[in-house]
Each structure stands twice: as structure tokens, then as C-alpha cells.
């Protein structure tokens, strides 16, 4: 038995919003792999829960008329990895979420829950930052769309207004067109572990594959919220593809990140693996894009 005060179940987005308005102090539960564990540990003991797990309309990946990829917020990690649209356009996201927890966790965990938690170590977060994802939020006043960079306010806190639930994650066509990316999770174990550092890089090369048209890089656990490394991106954008560029790009991330000491790893170690991961992920992204270096 979980120590909860009450459970309210929503069968639709409208019902969820109405329940949010009626019970402003209640905690939203999607897959529950964080909320129920926290409840078991006593952190959320006695809370009221609004379960949105039953809203099947929020499951699945689709493509909108303008090419935008729409990932329903309740889509599980394993379904994202298996999805043909994800595999075709943003395979790196499927690979990143395939490194969350273990198989059973990937069947229950949702991308909406992963982002609404606001934790910097979320395996989906760095890739969503690196692809300029947009978060769709639905509330009593309708739908609003917000860039993921603005959605994360601080550690554990996201910009979810009263009455709102997250309904989708959107990947604009501009982000994924001709773009190839790679994610590196550094953790102590291969399964059932939280990232010491997460690094997601993607590149778009020129038609002759000789020049980096655009590169994007984001980290998890390099700061209190996931972050982009703008200096590194500027270092590589418009430059000819080479090993030297990979080196310069990866060294530049040091100007952008601010990791902390924790029991999991020291700041210095995180700085070290950030540079190394940036380099490896950049090289792999260039390779996936058809470039040689």
C-alpha cells in the first residue's frame, strides 16, 4: 500500500486539467517510477495524486503537417526507441532513452515524466536540449508551447503552471533535417544507474560533407539543469571537418559548463569526461552524417 491521501484518475486531457484546477496541491503521476518511489521513501507520503497514466491519447509519435515530430508525453522510453519515426529522424533520442534504468523501467517511464521532474541527469534531457525541442503544455487557458531551455527553471523545478499538464514534446523539422547525433551516457554501471554525465551532440554537414554547417551540444549533470555549450558550438560552426576541429570543439566546452562535486563524481572528473565525451560524440555524429575526419 502506498501512503497516499487520495487518487484522482484522469481519462482525458480535459479531465486532467479539471482535476489540476480542483486539486492544486495534488502531485501528477504519469508512469510513477519516480513519484511512487519517492512516496515509498516517505518524501511524498500522504500526498494526493492525479494519475494521468490512463490518457492513451498522449501515447505515440506522429508527424505534423509542417514536419514537426510530435511525441506524446506518456510515450514510454521503450516505445520511443522502437518507433519508426524516431529511428528515421532522431535516432539518437531512441538510443539515449534506451539507457534509462533497466528494461522494466523503460516500459513504464515516460518522456513527459522524465522532463517534468526537472532533474539534470534525465537521459532524454540533453538530447532534447541539443535538438531545440519544444514542450507543449495544456491548461485551463488552452495550449502553450515553450522551448525546453525555458521549461527548466532550476534543479527539480520546471515551468508548469497551475492547472497545466505536459501533453507533448515537439521536435521541429529545422532541428532534425539532415542532422545526425550521438549520445554518450557516462555512468558507473551499464544498467540501473543514473548518469554521472550525459552528452548529446548533433551535426549538419554541407552537401560535400567537408564543412560543419551547424553543430549543437548539450549536457546533463554539467550544471543544475541541462545546458547547451554555446562556445563549443560557435567554435565548430562553419569550420572544415577535421580531427583538429573535434579537439578544439571539445576543449571549448570548458568555457560553458559548471559541474559540481557530488558523491557520484568530482567536478574535475566531470570536466574531464565532458571534454572527452564531447569529442567522441562529435566524431561519431560527423561519421553518421557521412563525413570523414
Amino acid at each position: 500500500m502506498y501512503d497516499m491521501k487520495a487518487l484522482y484518475e484522469a481519462g482525458s486531457v480535459d479531465e486532467a486539467v479539471a482535476l489540476r484546477v480542483a486539486h492544486p496541491d495534488a502531485q501528477i503521476i504519469a508512469g510513477g517510477s519516480d513519484v511512487l518511489v519517492q512516496m515509498r521513501e516517505g518524501k511524498r507520503a500522504g500526498a494526493e495524486l492525479i494519475s494521468i497514466y490512463g490518457i492513451d491519447a498522449l501515447r505515440g509519435v506522429s508527424q505534423e503537417a509542417d514536419g514537426t515530430l510530435r511525441i506524446g508525453s506518456l510515450t514510454s522510453f521503450s516505445h520511443i526507441t522502437k518507433d519508426p519515426l524516431i529511428q528515421q529522424y532522431i535516432n539518437v533520442l531512441g538510443e539515449a532513452v534506451d539507457q534509462v534504468g533497466g528494461p522494466q523501467i523503460r516500459n513504464i517511464g515516460t518522456i513527459g515524466g522524465n522532463t517534468c521532474n526537472g532533474v539534470t541527469s534525465a537521459d532524454s534531457a540533453s538530447t532534447l536540449f541539443a535538438w531545440d525541442a519544444i514542450v507543449e503544455l495544456t491548461g485551463p487557458d488552452g495550449v502553450r508551447r515553450q522551448p525546453i531551455h525555458d521549461f527548466y527553471l532550476k534543479a527539480g523545478k520546471v515551468d508548469l503552471h497551475p492547472g497545466e499538464i505536459q501533453t507533448a514534446i515537439l521536435i521541429p523539422k529545422e532541428s532534425y533535417e539532415n542532422t545526425f547525433g550521438h549520445y554518450i551516457k557516462y555512468a558507473m554501471r551499464n544498467a540501473m544507474d543514473i548518469a554521472t554525465l550525459g552528452t548529446s551532440v548533433n551535426v549538419r554537414l554541407s552537401a560535400d560533407k567537408k564543412t560543419v554547417e551547424r553543430t549543437r551540444i548539450a549536457f546533463g549533470v554539467a550544471g543544475p539543469v541541462p545546458l547547451r555549450a554555446a562556445t563549443a558550438e560557435q567554435t565548430a560552426n562553419g569550420q572544415p571537418v577535421s580531427q583538429e576541429l573535434a579537439e578544439a570543439f571539445s576543449q571549448a566546452v570548458k568555457a560553458d559548463i559548471n559541474p559540481r562535486d557530488s558523491w557520484r563524481a568530482s567536478r574535475d572528473f566531470r570536466m574531464h569526461i565532458a571534454v572527452e565525451s564531447a569529442k567522441r560524440a562529435f566524431i561519431e555524429s560527423v561519421r553518421l552524417a557521412g563525413g570523414e575526419l
Binding site: S33, L36, V37, G101, Q104, I105, I108
Partner: protein, 169 residues
């Protein structure tokens, strides 16, 4: 003013090991609680109860879930399978259970039902996996007795047997 907790129940309808069932459950119950207490599915073990160890694993609509972090009320309309559902009509064991015995993949047995149901999900895909892929697919279970080699071998052996292929040396 302290608010009094009001007990809250819900009737849940689902299919358990091939049979349609219904039960009125306390909304605070986990699926592990309901399967063990209301249906005597004691193969569903209470291990860590925080989704780490995989001892409470069941198949829901064909996918593996840790039932300890799954609310009982979410079972509504689902097809749920536990180890008990693998028994044949005369109580005979399935091939994967026999393989666990043959390969000495069991010692205390506490992790075994969970492992076997994940193995069932793997085997029912009908695909051939590499050792590395199998290790990853089995990685959501902790065994504190035997280690994992015998378990891996039991799953691999059954996979090749079902595929009608010889197991590579």
C-alpha cells in the same frame, strides 16, 4: 484541522493468465499487493519495492513491468501474466522453466519468476539476439546467489531451441 483519510476503493476488471477477473481494490494498492493478496499469485515477489530488483516483474500486454511500482487500479482492461500462467493444463512446466532447472540457473529462487517472465517477453519476439543484447534485455533483474551466467545460458538455449537452430558453441 486535520483531514481524515477516507478509504477509497475501485473495481478493476482485467485478464489474469487468460481468465477475465474483477476485484474491488484499495486505490493505494500496488499491483504486487493485489496479485499476491487478492489472487494468491505468490510467484510475484516483494523484493526491493522500489523498482530496482525485478522480483515482482509481470507481463502487462506482453511487456515486462515491475508490479511494485504499478498501481493496481492501472490494471483496468489489461492482460496480465504471472509465472503461474506458464503452467500447462496438467501442471507441466514450460520450456524456459525447465531450462532454468537444467542450467542450474536457480539457487534460492527469489529472482527466478521475474527473470523467467522477462525471458518470456524476449522469447516471444521470435528474434535471435546476441549475448550482449540478451545481457541488456535481462539487466533489470538482480540475482544475489548464482550470478548471471547460468541464467543467460538458460535463456539463450531456449531461444535457439524455439528458433529451431543449433546453439553456437
Amino acid at each position: 484541522m486535520a483531514e481524515k483519510f477516507v478509504k477509497q476503493y475501485k473495481t478493476v476488471h482485467f485478464n489474469l493468465n487468460g481468465n477475465d477477473v474483477e476485484r474491488s481494490v484499495d486505490v493505494r494498492a500496488s499491483l504486487t499487493d493485489m496479485l499476491r493478496n487478492d489472487f494468491r499469485m505468490t510467484s510475484v515477489k516483494k523484493g526491493c519495492e522500489v523498482g530496482e530488483c525485478g522480483a515482482c516483474n509481470v507481463l502487462i500486454d506482453g511487456e515486462a513491468f515491475n508490479s511494485c511500482i504499478y498501481l493496481a487500479v492501472w490494471a483496468e482492461g489489461k492482460h496480465i501474466r504471472t509465472l503461474e500462467g506458464l503452467l500447462g493444463p496438467d501442471g507441466e512446466m514450460s520450456d524456459i522453466q525447465q531450462a532454468f532447472i537444467d542450467e542450474a540457473a536457480i539457487q534460492c529462487g527469489f529472482c527466478t519468476p521475474g527473470f523467467i517472465l522477462t525471458a518470456v517477453e524476449i522469447l516471444e519476439t521470435g528474434k535471435e539476439y546476441t549475448d550482449a543484447e540478451l545481457r541488456k534485455l535481462l539487466s533489470g533483474h538482480l540475482c544475489r546467489c548464482t550470478g548471471y551466467e547460468n541464467i543467460l545460458r538458460a535463456v539463450k538455449k531456449t531461444m535457439y531451441k524455439r528458433l529451431g537452430k543449433a546453439m553456437p558453441e
